[in-house]
Symmetry: C2
Subunit: 221 residues, 2 copies
C-alpha cells in the first residue's frame, strides 16, 4: 500500500492520521455511518449489497444497538440502509449466530469459574490452557464472555484471567461507567483504554485470584 493514495476514515479518538486524506470523527457512532454519509457527497446510491455491509458495520460497532454510541444518527442510518436493502436478520445471523459448539462449551466452562468481590462490583472469570486444549481451540474470540460477566447487575469491572503458560496469566479488563480500566492496567505494568485494557501477571493462580482483585478494589475507590 506504500505507493498508493490512502484515505483514512475512523471514529476512534486514538487514530493517528497516517494517510493522504484523514477523516476522523470521534462524534460519529460508527465508521459505517460515516461512509454512509459520504455517499451524499459522492452522489452514490448504495446497492443492497453495499447497504448490507454498511448496516453490518453499524450493528457491529454499536453492539447490536446496545452500546452508548447508539445515537439517533446511528439508528437513522440503519433505518435507511434497511430501506435500501440491508437485511438486519441476515446481518445478526452472520455476526452473532456463527459460533462453534466448542466455543459454546468453552463459554460454559469459563462462566462456571465466576467469582465476585464482596461488594459485587468486580466479576472475575478465568480460562485455562487445559480448557482450550481439551476443546482443540487455538484462537478464541472471548469478547462475549466478558460481555456476559459485565451483564451482572452492579458490576463495574470484569477481570478475565487467561492462562498463557504455567503461572502466567494475561488479565483482560472490561469496565463500565467511570471505572477506569486503563489506570488499573497501568498499575500492573499494562495499558489500554478506559473501558478495555490488559496486563500480565505471574504466580500461582490461587494467590493471584485472591490478591489482584483485592488490589483492584482499592484502585477503584
Amino acid at each position: 500500500l506504500d505507493g498508493a493514495f490512502k484515505i483514512n476514515i475512523d471514529h476512534h479518538h486514538s487514530n493517528s492520521p497516517y494517510a493522504d486524506i484523514n477523516w476522523i470523527d470521534p462524534a460519529a457512532p460508527a465508521v459505517g455511518e460515516m461512509v454512509f454519509d459520504l455517499r451524499h457527497a459522492l452522489g452514490i446510491r448504495p446497492t443492497p449489497e453495499i447497504a448490507e455491509n454498511l448496516y453490518c458495520a453499524i450493528a457491529s460497532d454499536t453492539g447490536s444497538f446496545q452500546f452508548s454510541n447508539t445515537t439517533p444518527r446511528a439508528l437513522a442510518a440503519a433505518t435507511e440502509l434497511a430501506r435500501l436493502g440491508a437485511n438486519p436478520t441476515g446481518v445478526a445471523e452472520k455476526l452473532y449466530f456463527n459460533n462453534s459448539p466448542e466455543k459454546i462449551l468453552l463459554l460454559g466452562r469459563v462462566l462456571t469459574t465466576l467469582t465476585m468481590n464482596g461488594r459485587g462490583t468486580i466479576a472475575i472469570i478465568s480460562m485455562f490452557k487445559s480448557d482450550t486444549e481439551a476443546l482443540r481451540l487455538k484462537e478464541v474470540d472471548t469478547e462475549d464472555m466478558t460481555t456476559l460477566a459485565r451483564s451482572i447487575k452492579g458490576v463495574e469491572m470484569v477481570m478475565f484471567f487467561k492462562e498463557m503458560a504455567p503461572e502466567t496469566f494475561r488479565v483482560s479488563l472490561r469496565s463500565k461507567g467511570n471505572a477506569n480500566a486503563a489506570l488499573v492496567a497501568e498499575h500492573f505494568g499494562g495499558g489500554g483504554h478506559i473501558h478495555a485494557s490488559g496486563f500480565t501477571v505471574y504466580g500461582p493462580y490461587e494467590r493471584l485470584i485472591r490478591e489482584i482483585p483485592a488490589t483492584v478494589e482499592g484502585l477503584l475507590d
Copy 2:
C-alpha cells in the same frame, strides 16, 4: 377489569379479540411500534419517558434488532423515539445487563452440558434440580440459554431438558427457519408455535438424552 372498556393492541397472530376495541396487526414488528403509530392519530407528542418505554418495547420485541421483525418500520420508529428522548443504552442496560451472579453461573453449568447430534443440526442442553438448588434459584429466565445454543452455526433446533422431578423432564424446543418445533412437540404430546414449543418426558436422563434427539432428527427430515 370486567366492567371496564377494554382496548386490545397486539401484533401476535394468535391473539383472540377479547376486548371492546381490538387492533391486531400481525404485520407490525412490535406492539411498541403500533402504539407509536397511534400517537399520530391522537395528536400526542410522547414525553421522553413514554418514548423510552415504547423504545424498550420495540428493542425487546425485536431481540435488540436481531430478529426477523427488525423491519425498516421498526428501525424508523426506534430512530424517532431516540430523537424524542429515549436512551438506547439505558434501555439495553435494563433489558440485558440486569443478571444476578447466580444466573451467570447457572448459564455456565447449562452450557457445559451441550451435546450435538451427528449432523450438527440439533443442540441439546440440560438443567438439573441440583443446579438451581445449589445456586438457590427458584424461577429462572432460561431464554438466553437457548439463544446461546441456537447461536451455533448450522443448528436448526435447540432441545433444552429441564429436570422438574426425578425422571421427569420438561423439554423446551426453539427452532430456526423451517424446522417446525410445534410438530415435534405434538409428537410427544405437547404443543406450541413453529419456533417455540415444549413437552414433558419421563424416564432416566441418560436414556432420554439419547433417544429423544434421535427421534427428533427423524421428524425434522
